[in-house]
Amino acid sequence: MKISFTINGEAKSVEVSDGNSPLLWAIRDGLDLKGTKFGCGKAACGACTIHVDGNAVRSCSFPAKLAEGKEITTIEGLSKDGKTHPVQQAWIDEVVPQCGYCQPGFIMATAAMLDKIPNPTDEDIDKNIINVCRCGTYYRMRKAIHRAAKMNGNTDVQ
């Protein structure tokens, strides 16, 4: 079946043989956007996190057919108009990534959280950022999340 949606601001269609198959593969292999990663296939690690209508979604467990007509953003589309997204900039400033594989998922999860909680406390971060990073970059990520919140213009960050 053919599924149509907007991805990173562009209208696209992909062909999948089973509408219940994960959206992740339609994005990675159908549209060749490789920034969204496969980690576990069971929504347990968050490496495949994307935004669907502004919400963080683990695309490895999101049926492709549910993307019909939706607004999707992947890591490739997070920075807009030639401006680096604050979360990505904060990640660069804090030199967060090590191997880097899980980082797009964390960045997408963080961007979605900051849309809803612009000024997160450490507790908010602990509750909302539950992806897995095997290199253990959490310590720098936390600093980067606070930095991104500040960059977003919320200067009353703790």
């Binding site: 999948v16 043989s17 089973d18 198959s21 994960p22 593969w25 292999d29 060749d32 490789k34 920034g35 969204t36 990663k37 496969f38 980690g39 576990c40 296939g41 069971k42 347990a44 690690c45 490496a47 992947t74 890591i75 490739e76 920075s79 990505q88 990640w91 660069i92 030199v95 967060v96 990534p97 090590q98 191997c99 880097g100 594989y101 899980c102 980082q103 797009p104 960045i107 450490d122 971060i125 602990d126 509750k127 950022i129 539950i130 992806n131 897995v132 990073c133 095997r134 290199c135 253990g136 970059t137 959490y138 310590y139 720098r140 990520m141 936390r142």
Partner: protein, 719 residues
Amino acid sequence: MAKKDKPKSKSRRKFLIRGGLGTLGVLALGTYVFRNPMRRMTLEMIETMVPPYSGTGTEANLWFEITTDNNLILHQPKVEMGQGTFTGLAQIVSDELDMNISQITVTAAETATGIVDGMSTGGSLSVAQLWTPLREMAATMREFIKIEGAKKMGVDASSLSTADGILSGGGKTMSYAEAIADLKEFNLPKTPELRPVKNYKNVGKPIPRIDLTPKVMGDPIFGMDVEMPDMLHATVIRPEHVGASLKSADTSNAEKMPGVVKIMKKDGWVGIIANSFAEALAAKNKVTVEWDIPKKWSDEDLKEYLKIGQGNKQITQKKGSALDEEGEGVINMEFRSPIGAHAQIEPNGAVAYVKDGKATIKLSTQVIGVTQKQVAEALGMDNEDVNVIGTYLGGGFGRRLNTAHAVKAAQMSIEVGKPVKYFFTRKEEFQNDLFRPPTHHIMRGKMNGDKLEALEHHYASGDVAMNSVIFPAAMGTILGSDVGASRGGSIMYGKIANRRSVQWHRTLPFATSWWRSLGLLANTFAIESFIDEMAINAGKNPVDFRLSMLGEEENQKRIRKVIEEAAAKGNYTDKATGNRAMGFAASIDANAPCAHVVEVSVDGNKVRVEKVTCVLDSGLIVNPDQVRAQCEGSIIMGISAALHEEMYLKDGRLFPINYGSYDMALMKHSPKEIDVHLVQGAENPLPVGEPPLGPIAAAIGNALKRITGKRLTELPMKV
């Protein structure tokens, strides 16, 4: 431009001669090492030295490809798995070759370049090992460019200065690219004298990682991201049960599934090749498989199989006399660690294309050269006809020191005549990992007044180095012990008159191997927990207790320094405050001593590591920011192993099979403060990526003892 296909210089570099040694060089000791004292000496040597670079491709012109737009592509034998090596190498090159970091691109190892590491990317060795050869080659290349440029510029080479890839002198300038453009034949000059380290501009500075932007922007740089034209997707059926082999497979229903191109059965495995991964996976679920399961292993079976007193015994450290287990005043304490999974987030896999007798394999691997040999051998091809191209790795941690699965990708490509991408599902990763072996330890000690008179560490472990593809089988026979399992197994306090460590080794029914830091994590947990217990028994402050047992030799002084520094920077106290206390532990691995002070709190059954102060002496630091990052990562991975991770056997299968149920440290478990202090107690760089994993579990256990009054002796620790 100096390209890899240009004629090679005949002059041999200094490092090439040294390169003949290496870890494998100890084989030359031959039969002498069969004597136990020699075995122990050899073991100590392996554990403390940085083996010289032992790979191929030691001519400078092969490594430095100057592009026509005057940038540099550094071809080198290592891969980047997060450890920051590419950045460190770029820093080293920039300072001897006088090019700007921004002009340098580092490519992952590729067999076709002729630059292949003798062993692997591992052992925390990349920067330490390439430190001297890379500086020598970069300096040689600079000299070469100067000589050639001087000819074209009509000036004397000695009058030229170099900066940012530009030659200047006699009022003229010329780019490096112009200087060596259109060179047909050349000889490399002698290696000039290296610059003093203090004159380096980039070495020693916290240069941001050179792979930062691609990793933050989501560029397709990993093995999983590789595309080839007309590529198909595949999955392979792997056993769930330990030791199981395929008896029969009915694929008739699977063959009718949409998108299936081919189902192949070969040498006890089934491969499903389809137009998409989702289709391959859907078809896989329709295959009915019968397995031959020789024994359904349980946790109890394993505990009985792997314990002190079973398997091959080897004394790996021996000073003074042995303790009698039941002697008067002898204290015995038992420790255990579980099976650990690598759990790197990028699954293992490979993209292979075999055509016209040539194979191209792209994958995340720590063993470029070994993978080439494995594929060539399985396919009956010459090594030269198999090109293995490394990508960025979505985590290594030792898991990718055997990537034999590349063979299956190549065989499937032959079957369909097209490129095939094949990778593990997460369940397959968890059930077919090459695990960190479980361990069993008995610590035995005897006090004399307030001093430890004797200390022994008896430890049982499965394979780490033994039976691995990067370690010659003969080494096991020669050394009589598993040199991976023994990491951190010796007692480092030189003033304890009677010290010994004894290894009991057994190969387990499931594959075990290298897991970041090898035996260090579990061995240090046992030794440093017991030392803490002895300090408490003696009524001594555990830091003072440790310091009192260190001698005056060089390595003892270096250990002393990190212990003193950690206690001071972390404001260590052995007194608990309510539900909060500090814990102290130290270790030395690969000649890099490390000490941690952890601050831990307990709330109900929740343990939280609030702060870690880490002091590491890994010699000269090339990039302090990345060394810190490695310390932070090791600490968090260590917390995960200390408090969370555990695989178990049930009905012959290994569980858990996914993240979440395989409990790992997450953001909420990560300390909010990690304070890293680096001391330089050696002239050259030493290993970085593993030594900080040593003390973490013991330090946490020592803090918990002060909060709860209980000594926790099993990983993961639960209160």
